[in-house]
């Protein structure tokens, strides 16, 4: 198991490095010179004003050199300072990271809590239940996320004034307010995800119930319920866990839209503002954090898979 972990972490580091390099060179080739954004205002752009800004940001040095000391910085945990605000990028990311993590965790919990039972029920009952589940999940997958978000805000916040329309009160300040603020975005984000989890569980349950060991368990004389829970559902968890890992990865992307609709203070909005202000350090910082997050989640999924399926442990 240990050599498996070491190899996994090694590939993860290489992956993070590749992502970092890609994003660095990609963002630096994007048109729209950051100096213009910083010069700003209607006072007009004097060439030497722009040049002065570029120098202060170190943009005038050759790209290779910028990349080298950026890489060194990252290894030392310093993601550089934001062009616009001068605040260290790492600090502003850390301030907003909990919000994104809370959102994704809440959505994942909701999706698993809703998806797995629904999928298992459909996989077990088959017939009408199966048809119903497939169509409901297809619809859930088909509706654009922000339309759902917009309708949710319209109903719950504007018309019924039950929940806040956006923003997030920090947990420390007001736990109830925090939960109320988190509810709508998390439910919206988890909608499509629970559909995927439900469909995956259904397929896994159907496939597992044909397996020989289920028949062996029945031949022991175990009750139908016990056979289903311990011999079908338990084994269906392996494929489901892999899908959950993959989907959470794509979640980080989808949360951008959710953060926009609910004005949710996550790192994705930081990213979007960063790109539209050509704030290179912020963009690079957030992308690396997201990539590392994605890799960590995959690592956790692999470990979880090893725990769930003993055959995977020898790898």
């Amino acid at each position: 198991m240990v050599s498996f972990l070491i190899r996994r972490i090694a590939t993860a580091i290489v992956l993070a490095w590749v992502v970092l390099t890609l994003i660095f060179f990609a963002i630096h080739t994007v048109p729209g010179d950051p100096a213009y954004q910083l010069a700003g205002g209607d006072s007009g752009f004097t060439e030497e004003g722009l040049q002065q800004i570029r120098e202060s940001l170190g943009l005038d040095r050759p790209l290779g050199e910028q990349y080298a000391n950026y890489l060194l910085g990252v290894l030392g945990g310093d993601l550089g300072e934001s062009f616009a605000t001068g605040q260290p990028v790492a600090q502003s990311i850390l301030r907003r990271l909990p919000a994104t993590l809370q959102l994704i965790a809440a959505a994942a919990v909701l999706a698993i809590a809703a998806g797995i039972p629904f999928g298992a029920w459909a996989g077990r009952r088959r017939g009408m239940a199966d048809a119903l589940m497939t169509s409901v999940t297809s619809v859930a997958l088909a509706v654009p996320v922000y339309v759902v978000g917009a309708l949710a805000v319209l109903l719950f916040s504007v018309t019924w004034r039950l929940l806040p329309a956006g923003g997030l009160t920090p947990f420390a300040e007001d736990p109830m307010g925090f939960l109320r603020g988190l509810l709508l975005p998390a439910v919206t984000l988890s909608l499509a995800f629970s559909a995927v989890v439900a469909r995956m569980t259904r397929t896994a349950v159907i496939e597992t119930s044909d397996r020989d060991w289920v028949r062996t368990a029945t031949s022991f004389g175990l009750t139908r319920r016990r056979v289903f829970n311990r011999y079908v559902l338990r084994n269906s968890m392996n494929p489901v866990v892999t899908v959950v890992g993959l989907e959470i990865g794509s979640f980080l992307g989808a949360s951008v839209i959710i953060e926009r609709v609910f004005n949710y203070p996550g790192i994705s909005t930081l990213l979007i503002d960063g790109v539209s202000a050509r704030d290179y350090p912020v963009v690079q910082g957030v992308v690396i954090v997201i990539a590392v997050l994605f890799i960590l989640i995959n690592l956790v999924v692999d470990i979880l898979y090893g725990i769930l399926d003993p055959r995977a442990r020898i790898r």
Partner: protein
């Protein structure tokens, strides 16, 4: 013995509801099993024997419909409540299955399975159940039972898994054990052990056994009474001796005729072709093959220091149990798996370190037939095209019209109608598909062929005809052949020389008659002794000798 039978199945018909209509699979089956009796239910694949066995405790898939009557100790099961059937399962009627690999849940240890089976019908604590489980594992002859509890199914051998499953089955002292092809997937030595165990449990626990098999040798070895089924009907029944010696049923006679029998008496060499004395087609010396198992762990040695030759025009049998490395050698000489050490000259070309062009040239005169009819032919390509593919790939023939005619000729030479050239593999039976494989193998008029268990997956009757075809073609085309198999009787029938392989090393090699009648090595002797012959009287004698020999050794 009470007058009613322990298990009485009368006019049982089973049908499956597929796409709306019911397809009947078995029609009016009658059979009974008495207390402590061993009854064999024998038939070829598709005869309905498994379905009948499964219907006793209703382990059939949800779309199955049973009609007729099944009475266990006088109580009608067909109309019994779901709860009653559930109580009966494991407690009165237990089952073991064929595929040890998939019959146990891979995510639970053997101990968990046992505790589950034990506590299913009795309300006892986990610790008590664990203690009892250790006892059961000991009773079924498993080494270090305590350690075995913590092991996962994939960590132990097929034979051990089967013994563990038997332990689970007998955990509630059932009065009847239904064994669905319990030893088909096992090697012959392991099979002998399992059959001994079953007989011992029958006497110790007074447990009746209904054994489902297609191997007449196994029937001869263990059965008191036999029921023969064909196409869902019972075609013959009676005591074992009646069936083997006095039965007048044509199907039973044909079945017994087709089974290759490891004859004790010297038999005239009916088909084996001796080497013609020219340079040997295949020379293997000091062959060593390893498989990588992990990043820093030592590689698994599959074949170690193997040397043998196959003469020109000769058919050599390579025999060994699973894991002996016989298939690995087969693939190595074809250049499909890398060789770590030693040499193998195939049709004059040295395989180890061969250059790509030479490998291509060599492959023009070498061919192969694989084991599984289901996957040896590309399902998406019509058979006419598959069998002439080697000619296309080796650019021997490019003209499609000529290839079409060759295809039809080849089909005819393997006794398949010419017009079937456009059919797809899934439209043919297992036997027919193997014939197509052979047609493909001879399409390039090879000088050397590797046959990797070509008939093991076939029913006995079909196996015989395919073997005859292979021999006939070898005699007429004169190619030499390395015939890989785990079935001694089959090898004895067609090989001139035999090589016995164990855990990657050659145990002994020699002419077929020397090896099979006067084996020098104890492993070969045990191997031959373990093969049940389809002749009850002889088999009883062999069983007594084997147990006596085992008694001396242990």
């Amino acid at each position: 013995m009470s007058d009613t039978h322990l298990l009485e199945i009368s006019s049982l018909s089973v049908a499956f509801r597929i796409d709306g209509e019911n397809v009947e699979v078995t029609h009016g089956v009658d059979l009974h099993v008495d207390e402590g009796e061993v009854v064999a239910l024998v038939g070829e694949s598709g005869s309905g024997k498994s379905v009948t066995a499964m219907s006793v405790t209703d382990l059939l898939p949800p779309n199955a419909l049973r009609s007729g009557s099944i009475r266990f100790a006088g109580e009608e099961l067909l109309t019994a409540s779901e709860e009653r059937i559930r109580k009966l399962r494991g407690d009165d009627v237990a089952m073991i299955f064929q595929e040890p690999m998939t019959a146990l849940n891979p995510v639970y240890t053997i101990g968990t399975h046992l505790v589950e089976a034990i506590r299913c019908h009795r309300d006892i604590t986990r610790e008590a159940a664990l203690a009892e489980a250790t006892g059961l594992l000991e009773q079924v002859g498993l080494p270090e039972p305590a350690a075995m509890l913590g092991r996962y199914p994939h960590e132990i051998s097929g034979g051990q898994r089967q013994r563990a499953m038997i332990a689970m089955a007998i955990s509630a002292r059932p009065r009847l054990l239904i064994a669905d092809e319990p030893t088909t997937a096992l090697d012959v030595t392991v099979q002998a052990g399992i059959l001994d165990l079953l007989l011992r449990l029958r006497t110790e626990l007074g447990m009746a056994i209904l054994i489902i098999t297609h191997d007449m040798g196994v029937v001869a070895d263990v059965a008191d009474r036999v029921v023969v089924m064909q196409h869902g009907l019972v075609v013959d029944r009676g005591t074992t001796d009646h069936i083997f010696y006095d039965s007048s049923q044509t199907y039973t006679r044909d079945l017994l005729e087709a089974v290759p029998d490891l004859s004790a008496v010297a038999m005239t060499r009916s088909g084996a072709v001796a080497a013609t004395g020219e340079a040997p087609t295949l020379e293997v010396a000091g062959l060593r093959i390893e498989y990588r198992t992990g990043w820093r762990r030592a590689p698994f040695v599959a074949v170690d220091d193997v040397s043998f030759t196959v003469g020109d025009g000769e058919l050599v049998g390579l025999v060994g149990e699973s894991g002996s490395g016989k298939s690995t050698i087969g693939r190595a000489v074809l250049g499909l798996t890398p060789i770590q050490a030693g040499s193998a000259r195939v049709v004059g070309t040295e395989i180890v370190g061969v250059r790509r062009q030479d490998l291509r040239l060599m492959r023009r005169t070498v061919s192969v037939v694989f084991q599984d009819p289901g996957s040896s032919l590309n399902p998406r390509v019509p058979i006419g095209r598959t069998i002439t593919d080697p000619l296309r790939w080796n650019r021997i023939e490019r003209d499609e019209r000529v290839l079409r005619k060759t295809a039809e000729d080849l089909l005819e030479s393997v006794k398949i109608p010419r017009e079937w050239a456009d059919r797809y593999p899934h439209e043919l039976s297992g036997g027919q598909r193997q014939r197509v494989s052979i047609a493909r193998a001879i399409s390039t008029r090879p000088r050397f062929m590797v046959a990797d268990e070509p008939t093991s997956a076939l029913d006995v009757s079909v196996q015989a005809s395919v073997l005859d075809l292979l021999q006939e073609l070898q005699r007429s085309m004169g190619f030499s052949c390395l015939f890989i198999s785990h079935d001694l009787a089959v090898v004895e029938r067609i090989a001139s020389r035999v090589i016995v392989l164990r855990k990657g090393e050659i145990v002994e090699q020699g002419t077929a008659s020397d090896i099979l009648r006067a084996p020098r090595e104890p492993y070969t002797q045990a191997l031959i002794a373990a093969v049940p012959v389809p002749d009850p009287r002889r088999q009883r004698v062999r069983r007594a000798e084997r147990l006596a020999a085992a008694g001396r050794r242990s």
